[in-house]
């Protein structure tokens, strides 16, 4: 019998899972990807746009063209998912019944959730580099900026790519040094976490680097208001950080249709799922990949990539009526751009926090240490993204399971911590 798989979202996770499933499933099985717009954005590239290091046009491509022949593409927003009837209702009126549904609609930016943020953005006092329009506007604002206070502010967790705001701070230091006006710029990193990154080894490294670059660190700051007139961030417990220009990472949530789909998402619109099988708690025939999921893993492209391999096997098993045997270990891999042509690399999973050593094995890229090699790795990654990751090809030596070889485990900070606090968890205020 012909099976119908609907993939909601044609970003990183949706594209690669559709392409992988196309190879795995029978040729008669129908795979349809749905997205509300036609442009696929290479999101890791956004970090470089404000500094003029990457052209906006060079990081977007056609969504449909990233899909293999034999994968259908339907352009429309989603209205709601009817879990009981196994149907997706689209904004254009189409109804798509499914045997398996993959939710790959990522996270939405919700600046409206923070008092004053929308107004501050409109008035050119606050910017975000988390979408293209914001990144381009920030590029122009930075070019005009010739001194004053810049606050880099993470409003609330969870966010996509939790290291990106730290990278932004590193790159801002480099950018103003290159322009010869670094001493006229005060950089402050303002986070709701209790450290730059909270996890012992990684936090020590990154906090030390912020310090070394003269970036002030304000922790446990839960932003309640962005005051454009007064040029200040105000926390819910009444603390203030002054700014002339705010670079904010707005609150994230799930997409609006999740809220219109009873039983599908949690209070924030993310999809609760089994963190190992990636099956949604809502229903056995619903699966989740990438940022849309409410699981312990980071919201990062590498997570979607590693999940893809696991989820392909589990969906194929599900459609054959077999138990789900593939298990995601929480593997995450992030380059952390540190400026001056260098970068760090971290590699971790649910049970192992980022440590030093090399990746993927004893001979490889240095972990948790600045190097030119890692920077080149980060740059090369865009090619891998379009040509290997999205088409759903395996990248040699880099599999779903986190490699242990090459890692210096058992470092004092890693020992004895409970699983739940290892892979980048945070304390909430």
């Amino acid at each position: 019998m012909v099976k119908r798989v609907v993939v909601l979202g044609g970003g990183t996770g949706g594209t690669l899972i559709a392409n992988r499933l196309r190879r795995q499933l029978a040729v008669d099985d129908v795979i349809t990807v749905v997205d509300r717009d036609g442009e696929h954005l290479y999101q890791p590239g956004l970090l470089f746009v404000p500094f003029g290091k990457i052209r906006a046009e060079s990081i977007t491509r056609s969504r449909a063209r990233q899909l293999h022949g034999g994968v259908g593409y339907h352009q429309s927003g989603a209205e709601r998912v009817d879990i009981d009837a196994s149907r997706v209702h689209l904004e254009d009126g189409t109804v798509l019944p499914y045997d398996a549904l993959v939710i790959a609609t990522g996270a939405a930016l919700l600046p409206g959730e923070t008092e004053g943020l929308a107004e501050a953005t409109e008035r050119g006092k606050a910017f975000t580099f988390y979408d293209m329009a914001g990144a381009v506007a920030l590029r122009d604002a930075l070019a005009r900026f010739d001194g004053g206070r810049i606050a880099v502010n993470v409003v609330d967790m969870p966010i996509k790519c939790p290291v990106a705001p730290i990278e932004f701070s590193f790159l801002a230091d480099w950018y103003f040094r290159s322009r010869g006006i670094r001493e006229r710029v005060e950089l402050t990193f303002v986070t709701p976490l209790d450290g730059a990154f909270t996890k012992a080894v990684c936090n020590r490294e990154l906090s030390g680097m912020l310090d070394g670059k003269g970036v002030q660190l304000v922790t446990e700051f839960n932003t309640g208001e962005v005051d454009a007139d007064g040029g200040r961030l105000v926390s819910f417990d009444g603390r203030e950080v002054g700014f002339d220009l705010a670079v904010t990472v707005p609150v994230h949530g799930g997409q609006a249709y999740v809220g219109r789909s009873p039983g599908l998402g949690d209070a924030l619109g993310f999809i609760p799922a089994d963190e190992r099988t990636l099956q949604a708690k809502a229903s056995p025939n619903v699966f989740v990949i990438g940022d849309a999921a409410d699981i312990r893993a980071s919201k990062a492209g590498s997570v979607a990539h590693f999940e893809g391999e696991i989820l392909t096997r589990n969906i194929a098993s599900f459609l054959r009526g077999q138990p789900l045997s593939a298990s995601f270990d929480g593997h995450t891999n992030c380059f952390i751009e540190s400026g001056f042509g260098k970068a760090l690399l971290i590699d971790f999973n649910y049970d192992t926090e980022p440590v030093t050593g090399r990746f993927p094995g004893r001979i490889g890229l240095p972990l948790l240490r600045e190097s030119r090699l890692n920077h080149l790795g980060k740059l090369a990654f865009q090619w891998l993204y379009w040509h290997m990751l999205l088409p759903g090809r395996d990248i040699p030596g880099i599999g779903a399971d986190m490699p242990l070889a090459g890692k210096r485990l058992g470092a004092p900070a890693a020992a004895g911590s409970p699983v739940g606090s290892l892979t980048g968890t945070r304390e909430r205020a």
Binding site: E113, D156, M157, P158, P162, F197, T198, E220, N222, G224, F236, D237, V251, D266, A267, L268, P272, I295, R296, A297, S298, K299, G420, S421, T423, G424, T425, R426, E427, R428, A429
Partner: protein, 105 residues
Amino acid sequence: MPVKIYAGTEVTVNDEGFFTDPQQWREDMAPEIAAENDISALTEPHWQVVKFMRHEYAEKGTGPSVRALSKTSGVSIKELYELFPKGPAKLAAKIAGIPKPRGCI
């Protein structure tokens, strides 16, 4: 592990004062924990939040974030901070006898 006595019963807590075993918690301990954290009286809204924290912990294995707490309970984040000035999710978790809420990066 440090030991504390609340309502005449010995319980184990971590270095920051969070219960390590939520089973050891009883309602009559909550006012004492609150008092230790500068909340002199637990009002009805305090109790609603505390009970909600325990319910969420039982369901999901972790307490909710402030934002999730606000969305689900209908109490605004500002009001939650008025109830629990040092940070609603953390303080309410402590008073509710559940571990410190964790989130994902």
